[in-house]
């Protein structure tokens, strides 16, 4: 791992947690500051710092989705906030002065999950840990999912999804997951990865990792999100679809989601300042019903319809759904949903 924090702040409540011990063992030379609460720390803090904090709020939340568009009824496990991968389009780029924070009291999250999902045994839940962090990028270091995967796999009404761009899957391979954990990769053509996701593993590395977890009995998912409209997008995305199905058996794919580029208007100057090589803000972007920038509707329809077609050429029945779009558009693009 290339990223190294400048300092590690540790809240008193998690000073003896296994996650904290593991991270300190990994970085014995990084200066450590012990604090009662991160929020009370008055010193200089930023993206180059790592905070190990206690989750005190709700660790399980309904996915916020976005107003005015259809939600896929997803739940989010909040394990921290921050990512060192630095993709140009990521909403986390808003949080310039927030340290990379990991909630190190994993047992609390497990208790919350047992209570929350156990209270509704007749309902099935899809819950993921990759909303505010990359699920796996820090896993080798923190080992959070080594606890979460076996624990959540005991809940028969929960499908637990780990969303990632990482290829670090070693720690997952021997875990008891009872077929209830899905490991999902966000995918894009290499030309987009090289320009907009510069610190992430290549598509080939991600797919090789996916192949390894499939061999370990996991189902996998793929998120074409954000789909970028650029000259040559059709053949580039077709290649990605081919690469996936050439390596991964369709029967092992739990779902594929499609989501076109969208971002809060405040992120536009951030992208243009921090990522001068990015071409994201030069697309035909309008303000959607939720106020976010997104491609004009006919462009989105073309993107979704074509991706759906490419996927259907390789698999007639793998579930495909749109992320944060309207039902009309899903119907016109021929995407049936989960």
């Amino acid at each position: 791992m290339l990223w190294k924090p400048r300092q590690i702040l540790i809240e008193a409540a998690v000073s003896t947690s296994p996650v904290t011990a593991r991270i300190r063992d990994h970085w014995p030379d990084i200066p450590v500051r012990h604090v009662e609460r991160i929020r009370d720390f008055s010193g200089d803090l930023g993206r180059s710092d790592l905070a190990l904090a206690a989750q005190r709020g709700q660790s399980i939340k309904k996915c916020p989705g976005t107003t005015a568009y259809t939600c896929c009824d997803y739940y989010v496990l909040n394990l921290g906030i921050g990512c060192r991968l630095g993709c140009s389009y990521c909403f986390l780029n808003h949080y310039m002065n927030t340290p990379f924070t990991i909630y190190a009291n994993t047992e609390r999250v497990i208790d919350d999950a047992r209570h929350y999902f156990g209270a509704h045994p007749a309902r099935h839940f899809r819950v993921g840990s990759g909303e505010f962090i990359d699920s796996l990028d820090f896993e080798a270091l923190a080992g959070v999912h080594e606890q979460l995967v076996p624990a959540l796999s005991e809940l028969p009404n929960v499908t637990f999804e780990l969303k990632t761009k990482s290829d670090r899957v070693d720690s997952l391979l021997g875990l008891d997951h009872h077929g209830r954990t899905v490991i999902s990769w966000s995918v894009n053509p290499e030309v987009i990865r090289e320009r907009e996701e510069v610190l992430t593993p290549s598509l080939a590395a991600r797919l090789a990792a996916a192949s390894r977890v499939v061999a370990a009995g996991y189902r996998v998912g793929f998120h074409f999100d954000p789909i970028i409209h650029f000259p040559g997008w059709e053949s580039a995305y077709k290649e990605v679809v081919s690469a996936i199905f050439d390596l991964i058996p369709a029967g092992s794919i739990a779902w594929i989601s499609l989501g076109a580029l969208r971002f809060h208007p405040d992120l536009k100057p951030v992208i243009e300042t921090r990522f001068p090589n990015s071409r994201l803000t030069t697309g035909e972007l309008i303000r959607g019903l939720d106020g976010k920038f997104r491609y004009f509707i006919t462009i989105r329809q073309q993107l979704f319809a074509q991706l759906n077609h490419f996927i259907r050429q390789r698999s007639p029945d793998v579930p495909i759904y749109l992320c944060m779009e309207g039902r009309d558009l899903a119907r016109k693009a021929g995407v049936s949903g989960l």
């Binding site: 005015a68 536009k268 100057p269 243009e272 300042t273 001068p276 803000t281 030069t282 035909e284 309008i286 303000r287 959607g288 019903l289 004009f296 509707i297 006919t298 462009i299 073309q302 309207g326 009309d328």
Partner: protein, 160 residues
């Protein structure tokens, strides 16, 4: 003015000065909007803002003796927006043309949602007296069977 760092502010200011020399008196809001549009086009096309002002259509606007300053400002904004949103502009033009072809009663206002994000169309009107209401309702029947949004979006994608 929120513009990209690779487009120097001095370049934007220089382009706005050129627009003003052509007779457009730009207030603060005009400067913000036109400056932003010029920056976005410049970034997309990898050119400097003054080069955009050399486009034939823009030169024609700036040099048009028949238009006054505010008219030039309005048309310039419209042209720059259309350049950034070509598909949307085609849809908007098709929608306006289809609506005009229906020759609805002049009191009827038909609108689509912002940027056609929703397939719904809103219709509103005001009237004075039963006769006018009757005429409006009769005219509204022309909307029956029309596919204003669908047709506009199809026209936008058919560029042949």
């Amino acid at each position: 003015m929120a513009i990209s760092p690779e487009i120097p502010v001095s370049e934007i200011d220089g382009a706005l000065a050129r627009v003003e020399r052509a007779g457009s008196r730009l207030n603060h809001n005009d400067r913000r909007i036109i400056g932003g549009l010029l920056a976005d086009v410049a970034r997309r096309d990898s050119v400097q803002p003054h080069e955009i002002l050399e486009w034939a259509e823009i030169r024609a606007i700036l040099n048009d003796k028949k238009r006054n300053g505010p008219q030039k400002t309005t048309v310039l904004k419209r042209l720059l927006r259309a350049s950034l949103l070509p598909t949307y502009t085609r849809a908007e033009q098709a929608f306006t043309a289809s609506l005009a072809a229906l020759s609805l009663h002049s009191k009827i206002k038909v609108e689509h949602t912002p940027y056609f994000e929703d397939m719904t169309v809103s219709v509103s009107f005001t009237y004075r007296g039963a006769d006018e209401l009757r005429a409006i309702l009769e005219s509204l029947e022309k909307l029956e069977g029309s596919e204003l949004i669908k047709d506009a979006l199809e026209a936008a994608t058919n560029t042949d």
